[in-house]
Structures are given as C-alpha cells and as structure tokens.
C-alpha cells in the first residue's frame, strides 16, 4: 500500500453517457479508486462508485463552480480529474494551473484546443488548408447569393445538434438576419462518422477509431459499428494535428459530394458511445489516464470492427442510499 497507493480519479458529469462510459472503463483498473460527481443526485454514475465517493457539485455555469471543484479535488486528494460536461470543460481547463498546484492532473485537451473546437468558425478556418472542409462563413458577413442550396445553419458555439437546421434558398437565408454568432456551412450530403481520436503528449495520434452511427435516439447513438477505413482515420489524424490535440476528442466527419471525408466538427471530450471504441480494442479512458499520469503510451493501438446495440441498464439501491437533496439552509 505504501509504494503504490491507488490513483484517485474523479469523474464529473456522472449522470451522462460519457461519464458512465469513463467510469465503467476505469472501474476495470485495479490501481484506480473512482470518485464520481454530478449536480443531480439521481445521476446514475454516482451509484457505480463506492458510498463515500459520491459528490454533488454545483452546476458547471455557477460562479463558484471552479473554486468548489478545486477544493473538492484538494480534500479528496484527486490525482486525475475527468470532466465529461461541455459547459465545464473550458472553465476547468482555464484553471489547469490551480489544479496542478494542488496535485490534480486534468485529463482534457489544452484550453487552446478546446477553444478552437468550441468555436466552429475558428475550427473551419484552422482546418480548411489541411483537409476537406465545407465552406463556412458567418451569417452576418456572407452574401446569400453566393451559396449552393440547401445550406446548413448552426450556432457558432454550442454542442450537439442544438440549433442546427437546413436552409433551402437565398431568400430564407436573408430572412435570418445578420447574426455574427450563426454560421452558414455548405451541406455535406454523404454518410456521417464519429472518429474517437487519442493523441499522446507530443500530439502523436495513438488511435483513431471511426464509428458509424447506425441509429441515433435523442442525439445519443443507440446502435453503431466501428469501421476500418484508412481515409477516415487519416482525416481524423490531420484534424488532431491541426488543433494540437493532446488527449481524447471525437472528430465528426461527413462525406462530401465527391465522396471525400470532410470535417463537420470536433467535440473535444469523451463521447457517450465510447464503450464501442473500448470494445473494439482501444480503451481510451484508460489510455487518457496514463497520459494524465505522465506514463508512456504505446505508439499505436489497433482496433477491430465491432457492432453494438445499446440498452438502458438499472442500478438498484436502498432508498436510503440515494444522496439527499441539497438543503436550502446550507451556506455555500
């Protein structure tokens, strides 16, 4: 026990599919003690860890969120922090030095990488010269007559499919006004792929695992398949290099009219469908943990083609073991 105490890993967003995926992966490692946090006491992932290791935290947008998370990491002697919540990630990454100072490594890409991924206009600019990238302009500064329709309109910042829609002609695009926070993007007509991509501390891509999303329910992939396709892998590698990726990101590609893999966007975090990539042979949460601990990673990790269908799983508890609701009188 003295020489190698277990590594204490805190996973936030324990209620989401990504948080659960990270917890389930790391639970297989005998050298890890898992802690889980969420803002919701009914977050299922909280109950995948030991009784004293479940923590309710403030919403990621709360003013004092980062302060209280740093305090939690210090008190619980957290060695590595995994955040699986979009809104938290840039805020936590901005305070990486504070976490370092108390001995907690953040298993997330650099703030610079996060920022370029979360600003889809910056991302398109960054990647336009190095890989097929659909034409992307700001709504407020583009001539609607200059596009082939239909086009895609989406928020410049934001996650998932929120606010994404198709516009069929120039008149309809003009009617949307001149909002600088809205993007116009050429429609990619082909099949869509998610490529889970892991780069080591030098930015070298250790694995890029393309997945096709065969069935999607409410934005979550419920059936999928890994796809051995060198072009998809190579494209994701080029994206990783262009954004300076260290760690895990989910690169979304779609085939253009010529059938080439082109960049849609990058989610710089663990996807909810990560268990498929793990099952295909690339345990990215585990590799990301080694990366955060400064341990060497293999030069490359191969994967196999695997299909998955998913279902909801149940965790049964003594009602008394459900965390109590935060009380109103508590001073915070």
């Amino acid at each position: 026990m003295s020489d190698n105490p277990p590594v204490r890993v805190l996973v936030t967003g324990a209620g989401g599919p990504a948080g659960v995926a990270v917890l389930r992966s790391l639970a297989r490692r005998p050298d890890v003690t898992l802690l889980a946090a969420d803002m919701d006491r009914y977050a299922s992932g909280l109950y995948l860890v030991g009784e004293g290791a479940r923590f309710l935290v403030e919403p990621g947008l709360a003013d004092t969120f980062v302060d209280s998370l740093v305090d939690l990491c210090e008190r619980e002697r957290v060695d590595v922090l995994f955040s699986t919540v979009d809104v938290e990630l840039p805020r936590i990454a901005a305070e990486r030095k504070r976490l370092d100072a108390i001995g907690t490594a953040l298993a997330a890409p650099s703030l610079e990488t996060l920022e370029v991924c979360l600003d889809k206009f910056a991302l398109a600019r960054r990647c336009a010269d190095v890989l097929p990238t659909p034409r992307t302009e700001l709504l407020g500064s583009t001539d609607p007559a200059s596009w082939d329709y239909p086009v895609i309109v989406k928020p410049r910042r934001g996650a998932g499919s929120r606010g994404v829609h198709q516009v069929d002609d120039a008149e309809a695009l003009r009617a949307l006004g001149a909002d600088e926070d809205i993007l116009v993007q050429a429609l990619l007509p082909g099949a869509e792929y998610s490529v889970d991509t892991l780069a080591d501390a030098d930015g070298h891509v250790v694995a890029a695992v393309p997945r096709s999303r065969l069935r999607v329910d409410s934005g979550v992939s419920v059936a999928g398949c890994t796809v051995a396709d060198r072009e998809l892998e190579q494209t994701a590698r080029r994206v990783a290099e262009a954004i300076g990726l260290v760690g895990v990101a989910n690169v979304q590609l779609r085939r253009d009219a010529e059938g080439r893999a082109a960049l849609l966007e990058v989610n710089p975090r663990f996807p909810g469908a990560m268990p498929l990539t793990v099952a295909a042979g690339v345990d990215m949460p585990s590799l990301a943990l080694d990366l955060a601990l400064g341990r060497p990673l293999p030069d490359s990790v191969p994967f196999t083609e695997v299909a998955v269908v998913r279902y909801l799983e149940d965790v049964f508890l003594d009602p008394a073991d459900v965390l109590p609701a935060p009380s109103d009188e508590a001073g915070r």
Partner: protein, 244 residues
Amino acid sequence: MTADLLRTDHHVHSTWSDDAVSTTWANLAAARDAGLASVRMVDHVRTSTTYVPEFLAEVAALPRIDGLEVLTGVEAKILDASGRLDVPGDLVVGAGGVDRVLIADHQFPGPDGPWSPRRTLEEIDGGLHPQDALDILVTATARAMGQVPRAQLAHLFSLLPKIGLHESALSDDHLTEIATAAVRTGTTVEVNEKWRCPGPRVVLAFAVAGVTLVGSTDSHEASSVGRYSWVAGSAAAERLAGVR
C-alpha cells in the same frame, strides 16, 4: 479518558462543506442511531470563509439528545513549514466560537507555502532527503498545534502515501515530537476511517504518551457517521496501552 473511541465520531461534514450532502440535522440523527456518545460537526474553512457564525448557530439550535455530546470544529490545512493555518482571521476558538480547529495535511507544508504531492515527489527526487521531508512535516504539524487554543489532528499522515512514504519511515522521535506537542496543547488526535490513518504503531505510541484519541469517519454523508471497520483495529491498539 473520554469514551471508547469507537463511540465517538469527531469529524463529520455537513452541507456547510461544498462537497458534503447531509445536513447537520441528518448527521445528528445518524450519530444517535449509531449509538455514539460524542459527535463533532466539522466543516471546511479557508482564510476567506465567512459562514462560521451561521454554522455554529445552526448546530447550537439542534435538539438535545440524552447521552450524545455535540461538539463543533472547522477543518483547515497547514499552509507552510511554520505551521500557519488556512483559517479566517476572525475565527473564535473556545467560548462563543468553534470548539476545535482540525489541522489537515491536505498539502505538504513547504517552507514557501503548500506543496502538491507531485511537487513534493519532485523535491525528493531532486535531493530533498525523505527524512528531512518528514522532519518538515512533523515540525509543521507540531507548530500548527500552537497556532490555535484547541486543535485536533485530522487524518494525520494521510499525506505520506501520496509522497511515496509510509508511516514506518517515521522515527520514534517524530512520534514523540507530535505526542508531546499534543499533550502540551491539549490537542486531540483522530483515528480516521476514510484515510485509514494513523496506523496502529502511531496510535499505540500516542495512547502511551497520554494523547487523547478520538474516532473519525470524515463522513460526507449521514449514512457513514459513526460506522467503523478499519478504525476498530487501531482502537484495539489503543486498548493495549491500558494493560501496559
């Protein structure tokens, strides 16, 4: 002596700590249900904390339970080798204030401020002798006990595994230094279930030296208040002191 340490829980967090989920009320009920004779409600502070008077008022307003003593505390880390504590400047300890300050080794108390475990490992790799690191830690802990009128050592030596060391590396002189300071200042030392420290050797040495030992779950939710498994072994070591 106070009650058998297994019937005490002198380190119970409530919702006044950001990361704990049970109210002081729920913790009190849990302490009663666990058959405790004594419970200490403790929450985390740092220099900027302002909630202590409200926390104390809330605990003071809890219903009385026959045979159950309710005490208060705040937990703060040792900031540096001088033993300076991360407590609010206006903190009152004793009458009208908090009963004890829990002294925590959340970070290594370096000469220039708190060192993270990794920094400490780097310093040891870079030439800081492990015995010197232990000297700094032990002396800072002893000094911290003199910084406040009434203290309790929280999860003593829980830092050691994080900096690649073990309690067995502590010399008897180290234990004597802490025990002497604890007796002189009336500081209690908790045996901590969550972090499983200090171990039986330290507990026995402290018991022999006359240090008051108390149980501690370091609970963050009511269901674990007063529930011991590992501590029971150390409590056995404490009893050995009685037969010597």
